[in-house]
């Protein structure tokens, strides 16, 4: 599962985020997976994915410097692999 900068992604409908001091817990009601988002910045990116036109603008909106994007993409791919994130198919980036 790869996540590209110019793709549009969003939280799966069956996933809830719970704020915690270290970031957030993501829980998937369907597959019962519980994943810890260990940085508040990552939580900001994940929360911003849906309203952003693509992953790049979500990273920019969360104030992530470009040098850090590859590691954020890896984290997003990890979330996508557990169905925490889903690609919004058929939607053209604005």
């Amino acid at each position: 599962m790869t996540v590209q900068l110019d793709e549009h992604w969003a939280l799966s409908p069956s996933v809830a985020l719970r704020p915690e001091p270290f970031g957030a817990l993501a829980y998937h009601f369907g597959n019962r997976k519980l994943i810890f988002l260990k940085r508040p910045e990552l939580v900001a990116v994940v929360r911003g994915l849906e309203s952003a036109s693509d992953v790049r603008s979500a990273l920019v909106a969360a104030g992530i410097p470009e040098a850090g994007w590859p590691s954020y993409l890896t984290a997003l791919e990890g979330l996508a692999a557990s169905d925490m994130l889903r690609r919004r198919e058929g939607e053209v980036a604005a």
Partner: protein
Amino acid sequence: MKLVEHFELGLDAPICLTWELTYACNLECAHCLSSSGRRDPRELTTEQCEAVIDELQRMQVFYVNIGGGEPTIRPDFWHLLEYAVHHQVGVKFSTNGVRLTPERAAFLASPACGGYVDVQISLDGATAEVNDYVRGPGSFDTAITALQNLQDAGFTDAKISVVCTRQNIGQLDEFQALADRYGATLRLTRLRPSGRGADVWDELHPLPHQQRELYDWLMAKGDNVLTGDSFFHLAAFGPADGSGALPGLNLCGAGRVVCLIDPVGDVYACPFAIHDQFHAGNLLTDGGFGEVWRTSPLFQELRSPQTGGACTQCAHYDSCRGGCMAAKFFTGLPLDGPDPECVQGHSELALAGARTVPAASQDHSKSNPTRNQPVMLKLMTRPPVSDCAESPLAGFVP
């Protein structure tokens, strides 16, 4: 800060919450950790239970582990189950299977449960002989019938929940075969000396070489086996760097990420610690569950940095974090010392020495045994000596 350190300081709400819905039970398992049997007259009403679920939804407690007693004995159990899943609180419930008729199995497999329900059938032996020894006559057949009903109804991935004992460690492959036969997942957990378990722990807890057998089996075949983060004391079989740990948090979560609500609304630090010493408050009288979770002095204390005591001298301390608090408490060992089943053998001296096992602070066991009571028969190694044997020196061995 490492994630595990955040957990030690406690989270805003529990991750793993156990809720014993009733102390009533049709069985009288010898090792029942909540000493269940009789219903408590102060049991939460349906409305009070719904209010608890509402609060769990607000706190984003994503699922609860419901147990008892036998939770399905409550007439409103199925209603509360639906109420919870409709309020974004998933349910995993533990049952001996007594009420899992074909109709109930069909309900659990239906869209009404939305796939948010997990069912755990308790089975403490892969054969009737081993299971019924501790869970009582007929309980093996009840559990198997329930598994069959679930499978026939199309309910997928039920859990077979096993408390590992001296008598069943040799049956791990058989348990896995049973799980495979019913399309179920095997779940293994640790025997705790809690509740009535304190009375039989000496006889039931796995021997040191069986702990090793269990660890090796989990490492070799445990990829798809659930353990409820139960065996973190076994991590000390691995290297001192902790790399031999089983999957899970591998720390005592009591009052930090774990807690228990009992049938009358009392909140305890963990499911294995139903005792005054670990009582954090009551959700009816202390302002609700969230208030107890956030402000109870006991939980504050459990979230403060703990000293490892004698264990900090041990190279494996970072692996096992000193083991299980409840296991230490109910065997009369100091809480800042080694676990009674320390796999490095550091508790042997303390167990052999003078210790006082704490008295139970509550007991809902049936006052008179019923036909379901297990009969833990053992062969006697010498003839009994009657109180009125004639010789004044009867039974005296110099």
